[in-house]
């Protein structure tokens, strides 16, 4: 026992080394503090402890072999992490995992980052003593964003917990048990049919290739090799501070110029910047906000740049859809502008202009595929690449990242202000709106830095005084945080004028299409710092000052045109797409009553079940059961006015039993 003065420091002994206890959460954290890197698949400090993979087994004197991640620390513990028994055990566990793993490693897209592969190598596994057991599993590539390959799953449950705990979505869970256990959506349905918001946080956390972004690399090559196509690329802000990590750069290092040069080498015709359309988004969105703020309507205004948040809102909060900014995201604003203006400037058809976007995000692939972002069957954004896909293309093209000379963007869509750059970090959109509002409301002393909305916290709130106006701002990242805040706002416990929501913790710099940091614990913050540093170097830092946008609005942008190109509408979406459920069908051939009730989450929370029960009792009372067919749907188009009840094709919104009874009486009397 080490003791200093009167204060006794509690300690434990890790592999013979006395280690002070300083409030570590569990034994694993303590062991890591003692510079022993215990292997693990299922331990992540930001989600709950699961203890499934058994890789972090250690020997605790007097207690035998325990998993370090789920063992609380006690003073004077004596721990051994490297006994013969433990080493053998770890190896055997890995071999068992490999025996039930689809080992198509050479063609697996995860190969260079696979934790199973890395650990097997580290543990010196050169052969698997067990019979290969993996049954061929069907790959689910129904989603535009994510490919699920269950044959590679090691059942660590990381995806399940990140989806449930960080995003509060819960699209995946572990079904069955023992040898039959598997990660799956509800009843094994396709990922595209369930409540998955495509954020890709599961992809980022998956240690193996069981969850991967859907690659669209070949489509880009095809377009480049097709001489009839003009290929233009837009690059999102968060990409420039992360892509370099694939080439050994530190997180946050800015590589805008190198990426631009590399894209030209790859063979694209024009390289533009999504930050330009981020400025455009701010002009539209901040104007929309100032209008709502002055009129005091549709507040709080929620941002709408994040497609995962938009789908989440459409599934969970139909009553708030009017509060979402009607602005399209910077990706979609860029593309609709490009397909409108560039086609005219270059005198080519929409079909021959291929707009490729490079995004830190898997959900952007889903966003680009939304039907409202197409004109006559031709998409505004033709192809979306994640940061990783662009890095792979650069490697395939044989680009030496270290040696390539930086180049600059093409104009005019390559010019941006600092406000467009910070979009990539949580708080950036909020700050950009405030910069714009400040220049409008206090033109004599405009403020550019709103540091109170920066940083890694999941929920940031502040009050900003701009002249006579007091604006209450909230910035959230992580959908579980968003849900928490929205519930408070709905309950009237908290009030804000504008709320920025990003689905990924820390914003787009931590998107599902970004590199997975292996050795840098603060990678996400470092990337955000890189963006704020870039912002400080910009000539203009308020989107309203972007001269190319000023020209665009002065020369060719009418209010109507802007509305058509830059705004959108939202619709409620069912969490799970599935056929209607037959509640009952009467025996009489001719059905006088064809009834349908919505059993979507919102309608149920507003009393759809009670309505059903009352109606069913009334049908029995009036003895018309045999003349009735009664079905239920799981979510519909007008859930914001739930409960929705349909009688012979006629929809009754906000239906009460009284309304339903009157309508039924009219038909059966």
């Amino acid at each position: 026992m080490v003791s200093t003065s009167n204060m006794e420091i509690k300690t434990a002994v890790i592999d013979g080394m006395v280690t002070p206890l300083e409030g570590e959460k569990n034994l694993l954290e303590l062991i890591r503090k003692a510079n022993v890197e215990l292997p693990t698949f299922c331990y992540h400090s930001d989600i709950s402890v699961y203890g499934a993979c058994r890789m972090c087994m250690v020997e605790v004197e007097g207690r035998g072999i325990v998993p370090a991640c789920s063992t609380p620390i006690a003073p004077n513990m004596v721990v051994k992490t490297n006994t013969k028994q433990i080493r053998n055990m770890r190896k055997m566990i890995l071999e068992l995992m490999l025996a039930s793993h689809d080992q198509s490693c050479t063609t697996c897209p995860k190969s260079d980052e696979c934790k199973l592969q890395k650990l097997s190598r580290k543990m010196g596994i050169t052969k698997v003593r067990f019979k290969q057991m993996n049954a061929k599993c069907a790959i689910d590539d129904s989603s535009p964003s994510i490919v699920r390959d269950p044959g590679k799953c090691v059942l660590c449950g990381d995806c399940v917990r990140v989806c449930k705990e960080i995003q509060s979505v819960g699209a995946l869970d572990i079904a069955n048990r023992g040898a039959h256990a598997k990660v799956t959506p509800f009843f094994g349905q396709a990922l595209s049919k369930v409540e998955c918001v495509n954020c890709g946080q599961c992809v980022k956390i998956c240690p193996v290739g069981a969850l991967m972004p859907k690659y669209n690399i070949n489509e880009v090559w095809d377009a480049i090799h097709d001489s009839s196509k003009t290929v233009v690329v837009q690059i999102a802000p968060a990409v420039r501070v992360a892509l370099g990590e694939y080439f050994g750069q530190r997180p946050g290092a800015l590589s805008t110029g190198k990426i631009t040069a590399a894209l030209r080498m790859i063979g694209v015709d024009k390289v533009y910047d999504t930050c330009f359309s981020a400025d455009l988004t701010i002009i539209e969105e901040a104007s929309e906000f100032l209008d709502r703020f002055t009129k005091g309507e549709k507040l709080p205004q929620f941002t709408s740049c994040c497609p995962a948040w938009v789908k989440f809102a459409e599934q969970n909060y139909p009553e708030l859809l009017n509060n979402l900014s009607s602005c399209r995201s910077p990706q979609q604003m860029f593309s609709s502008l490009a397909k409108d203006k560039l086609t005219k400037d270059l005198n080519i058809s929409r079909e021959n202009l291929v707009v490729v976007s490079v995004m830190p995000c898997t959900a952007k692939k889903y966003e680009a595929a939304r039907p409202e972002f197409s004109v006559r069957g031709n998409r505004d954004t033709d192809i979306v690449l994640t940061t990783k896909e662009l890095a792979l293309m650069m490697k395939e093209r044989g680009i030496e990242f270290d040696k390539i000379e930086p180049a600059s963007f093409d104009m005019p869509f390559g010019f941006k202000t600092g406000a467009g750059v910070i979009f990539g970090a949580s708080g950036g959109v909020g700050e950009a709106v405030l910069r714009y509002a400040s220049a409008k409301l206090t033109p004599d002393a405009p403020v550019v830095d709103f540091k109170q909305v920066r940083g890694a916290d999941g929920i940031k709130t502040t009050e900003v005084n701009l002249g006579p106006a007091k604006i209450r701002v909230a910035v959230v990242s992580g959908l579980a945080n968003a849900r928490k805040l929205v519930e408070k706002v709905k309950a009237g416990e908290e009030y804000y004028d504008i709320i920025e929501v990003m689905a990924c913790c820390g914003g787009c710099v931590n998107g599902g299409g970004q590199p997975v940091p292996t050795h840098e614990p603060n990678a996400v913050q470092e990337r955000a710092k890189g963006l704020y540093a870039d912002d400080r170097t910009m000539l203009f830092r308020n989107s309203g000052e972007n001269p190319y946008l000023q020209k665009l609005y002065a020369d060719e942008m009418t209010h109507e045109k802007a509305h058509e190109l830059f705004h959108t509408e939202y619709e409620t979406k069912p969490r799970i797409t599935r056929p209607d459920m037959l509640l009952f069908e009467g025996r009489n051939e001719v059905k006088k009553l064809n009834l349908k009730i919505c059993f979507g989450a919102c309608c149920v929370s507003r009393g759809a079940q009670e309505l059903y029960q009352n109606v069913a009792a009334y049908l029995r009372e009036r003895d018309v059961i045999e003349d009735t067919i009664f079905t239920a749907s799981f979510g519909g188009a007008t859930c914001q006015n739930g409960p929705v009840f349909e009688i012979n094709g006629k929809k009754i919104n906000a239906c009460t039993f009284k309304k339903a009874k009157t309508a039924i009486d009219k038909i059966i009397k």
Partner: protein, 166 residues
């Protein structure tokens, strides 16, 4: 059929209400729903998850974890043949084979097309003294053999036929 179906979904509502639509009562709710339907239909599971405000994938995970729950429709008569050690030694396998060929079932197919019978193999029922044991609709039959079990099936079939004709 009408009244029955109606009663069934009404029972779902009743069961949910009885447990205060409390997500912590999920297992109890699923048990009672299974008593009504003899299995857990997908759309009812979807409705339960919605009413309890839990993720449907989670409800599916719970329902598939416990072997008590079944997601496949079961027959009207449930035959459980014990294949624990004692029963196995006393030739329970012969009984299983006889039932499978009599009912047109297999290791993969457990329920007859007319949904009259479901055959299940279970581990020890704790009645090793009267092995081999067959449980037919919660009634325990000890010291069974091929002939005895087939005559039990024939008896039920005859009853069903009589019921259908009356």
């Amino acid at each position: 059929m009408t009244d029955k179906a109606l009663v069934k979904f009404d029972r779902v509502c009743e069961i949910l209400d009885k447990h205060g639509r409390n997500p912590h009562m999920l297992i109890k709710i699923l048990q009672e729903i299974q008593e009504e339907y003899k299995y857990l239909p997908e759309e009812i599971m979807m409705y339960i998850a919605t009413a309890l405000d839990i993720s449907p994938a989670f409800a599916y995970g719970v329902a598939t974890f416990y072997s008590h729950f079944t997601l496949q429709p079961k027959g009207k008569n449930i035959i459980k043949v014990c294949d624990g050690t004692a029963c196995h030694v006393k030739k329970s396998e012969e009984i299983i084979n006889a039932l499978e060929s009599k009912l047109g079932l297999s290791k993969e197919k457990h329920t007859t097309d007319d949904t009259l019978f479901t055959l299940e193999t279970v581990a020890c029922l704790g009645a090793c003294g009267i092995a081999p044991v067959v449980v037919l609709n919660d009634e325990v039959h000890g010291a069974m053999n091929k002939e005895k079990v087939i005559s039990l099936i024939d008896k039920i079939k005859a009853e069903e036929l009589a019921n259908a004709q009356s």
